[in-house]
């Protein structure tokens, strides 16, 4: 009886030490998980999830503050991918975006633009060029169609057009 107890206690202690050491050295870093989640998101930086960009949202998911169904452009497909990766349950996207794909880009109407610079600051991917008092324009190759430039515009000169047009 005593021998058995000692042997098992010994095994347990050895294993416990192994576990403690490995939990210290083998843990996955949070950053890797965030990278992976970010790669599953559409990454058009539209901020519709309530976070300033896709990486902050990914970080929020990892630190367990945010739901996985907040990304309207990604749609249910993205939620499904995230659910599969995180092993959590699927639930449909809470709000629907009018831009669910990357096929639309912003277009600044030249006649109306007053060069106020507000859209330039709003663009998450620096796809708008221009300076004060001069007309701005959208670099179509870089625009992700996130619509963040539309609300700040005081003269409503920005509209969305099809990418290929």
């Amino acid at each position: 009886m005593a021998t058995a107890t000692v042997i098992f206690a010994g095994i347990a202690i050895v294993l416990a030490i192994l576990l403690i050491v490995s939990s210290h050295y083998l843990s996955t870093t949070e950053n890797e998980v965030i990278d992976k989640i970010e790669s599953l998101l559409p990454r058009i930086q539209c901020a519709q999830c309530g976070y300033p960009g896709c990486r902050p949202y990914a970080a929020a998911i990892v630190t367990d503050k945010a739901d996985i169904n907040l990304c309207p452009p990604g749609g249910n497909e993205t939620v499904r991918r995230l659910a599969k990766f995180l092993g959590s349950d699927f639930s449909p996207v809470t709000k629907y975006s009018t831009t669910a794909n990357l096929n639309e880009i912003a277009f600044i109407s030249e006649e109306l633009c007053i060069g106020c610079n507000l859209c330039l600051r709003a663009c998450p991917v620096d796809a708008i060029v221009g300076t004060h008092q001069s007309m701005h324009t959208v670099i179509s190759d870089h625009c992700t169609g996130c619509r963040l430039c539309i609300p700040p515009c005081p003269v409503d000169c920005i509209s969305l057009v099809s990418r290929n047009a």
Partner: protein, 503 residues
């Protein structure tokens, strides 16, 4: 020297029921003159040609009407004499579909004398290639790739010129008849090409089901007496006529993915192209005609016609006796790789080698489609050695990574798998959609990556800007504090000085 056993091996392919005898028993009809020509400006790779004529202008046959927009593209010529009726957008068959392109519309008249009727003279090699480009000569096999461009790839050494007369599509017979009637001209054209590319050997490839063409070519080889032209007959098997397939069949070498036959020392040219080149070198005639097979059950007199480029299909059909009863489909190109068009108001272009009119009986009905039973019949027939059934599965699962691994992009859309599939699954159609989807996926992920990168840069920039401003403010405050301190001390020192002075 009649035949030379150059045939090595051919992987895959299917035996198809031949329909060549519908159209190959008559001579090429050469008296077709349409009342109107619609000559598209987009008949070659690269940018469209720029129309160089004005509406109402009288032009002669063979005159340039479209100037090349870039250096390496070809010119467009008037195929008949007449008056320019209009320059407008018109639907045109281009690369597998109907699109709209600028066209010069010519009302033809009877004066059909060619503008330049003398053999051209060249100062040097480069001059020759430019001249070929200006003569508007493109590959007449179907892809309309500029011939000069193809002959100009001088980076690799060319050992063999393959003259493609295989013509594996079951309905087409235009190359067959061309070789029968103009064997000498074809071979002369080939010799000219050989001289340009510096090849040592020309191999004329003809499928065994064209005995007359084989005879004509072998006779012509004897007549010419050239030691460097050889004739090889290959088994009748679709799709031997594919450029890459032909290279493998003759040399046993594979053309690496994304490269051209010239990278393994071969250049493939269609016999029609050789003929067009010969016409240009001997007579100075630019490419304004091509031989088109008009065939199928839906036309009264199926035959091969020498058609001026730009002739409307409807007039061509009328020339061949018109439609015979109700026609269910109009196919441009062969029935395996050609495409259907919805109207006969389109012009014949340089890449139109065949027009098939089908009646109900030969048009595939929407069959019952069974699920794939994995019978594997599609695997041995694929000339590219793909696994169509697994590609289909990966496509149904939208597994793009797997699609890439299975080599979807290598599919040549020959349709062999469709023919043998007992479940009647439209495989090629699915593969086209899969290719399209995969391209979209790749594109959007590229876009996402770019957006992510730019976002990161912007956040970095903003935060560094922010940090800079903060620092500036802090420094300013500090300096104000410092300076004010000093001022106060100075002022106090001053005041005390004044007080002392008063005393």
């Amino acid at each position: 020297m009649l035949k030379y056993p150059l045939f090595q091996s051919f992987y895959g392919g299917v035996h198809l029921e031949s329909h060549k005898n519908t159209s190959n028993h008559k001579q090429i009809a050469r008296d077709f003159l349409p009342s109107r020509l619609i000559i598209p400006m987009n008949q070659q790779f690269g940018s469209d040609a720029i129309p160089s004529v004005k509406v109402g202008q009288l032009i002669q046959k063979g005159e340039v009407i479209g100037k090349p927009a870039e250096k390496n593209t070809t010119a467009v010529h008037a195929s008949c004499s007449g008056r320019v009726g209009a320059i407008e957008k018109h639907p045109v068959p281009t690369a597998g579909k109907v699109s709209t392109s600028t066209c010069v519309i010519i009302e033809t008249n009877d004066e059909n004398n060619i503008a330049a009727q003398k053999p051209p003279l060249f100062k040097n090699h480069l001059d020759k290639l430019t001249a070929i480009n200006h003569a508007g000569i493109v590959g007449l096999g179907g892809a309309a790739f500029p011939t000069a461009e193809k002959l100009n790839r001088k980076s690799s050494h060319c050992e063999m010129l393959i003259l493609n007369g295989a013509e594996c599509e079951p309905y087409i017979s235009c190359d067959d008849l061309l070789m029968q009637e103009h064997a000498t001209e074809v071979l002369r054209g080939a010799l000219a090409m050989m001289e340009i590319v510096g090849a040592e050997l020309t191999v004329v490839v003809i499928e065994k089901d064209k005995p007359k063409a084989i005879e004509a070519i072998s006779n012509a080889i004897e007549t010419i007496g050239s030691k460097c032209i050889r004739l090889t007959d290959i088994p009748t098997m679709y799709p031997t006529g594919g450029e890459r397939q032909l290279v493998e069949a003759l040399t046993g070498k594979e053309v690496p993915s994304g490269k051209y036959p010239i990278d393994v020392g071969c250049i493939c040219q269609n016999v029609g192209t050789a003929y067009a080149l010969d016409c240009f070198f001997q007579l100075g005639e630019p490419l304004i005609n091509r031989i088109v097979t008009v065939t199928g059950q839906g036309v009264k007199n199926p035959q091969n016609v020498a058609v001026p480029i730009g002739a409307p299909i409807v007039e061509l059909i009328k020339f061949c006796g018109g439609y015979d009863g109700e026609v269910s489909q109009l196919i441009l190109g062969g029935n395996m790789m050609g495409y259907t068009v919805d109207t006969d108001q389109l012009p014949v272009t340089k890449s139109t080698n065949c027009i098939i009119t089908t009646k109900k009986a030969t048009t595939p009905k929407p069959f019952e489609i069974w699920p794939c039973i994995r019978c594997g019949e599609c695997i041995p027939v694929c000339p590219v050695r793909l696994l169509p059934q697994q590609i289909l599965k990966a496509y149904e699962n939208k597994n793009f990574e797997e699609l890439g691994k299975l080599g979807l992009s290598e599919c040549i859309e020959c349709g062999c798998c469709d023919v043998v599939c007992p479940s009647h699954i439209p495989l090629v159609e699915n593969f086209r959609k899969a290719k399209h989807l995969r391209m979209q996926e790749i594109k959007s992920s590229e876009l996402s990556n770019a957006a992510q990168k730019r976002y990161e840069l912007k956040t970095q920039r903003l935060s560094s800007q922010h940090a800079n401003t903060e620092k500036l403010h802090a420094d300013l405050k500090e300096s104000i504090k410092e300076s004010s301190k000093n001022d106060m001390i100075k002022a106090a020192v001053e005041r005390s000085k004044k007080r002392r002075d008063k005393k």
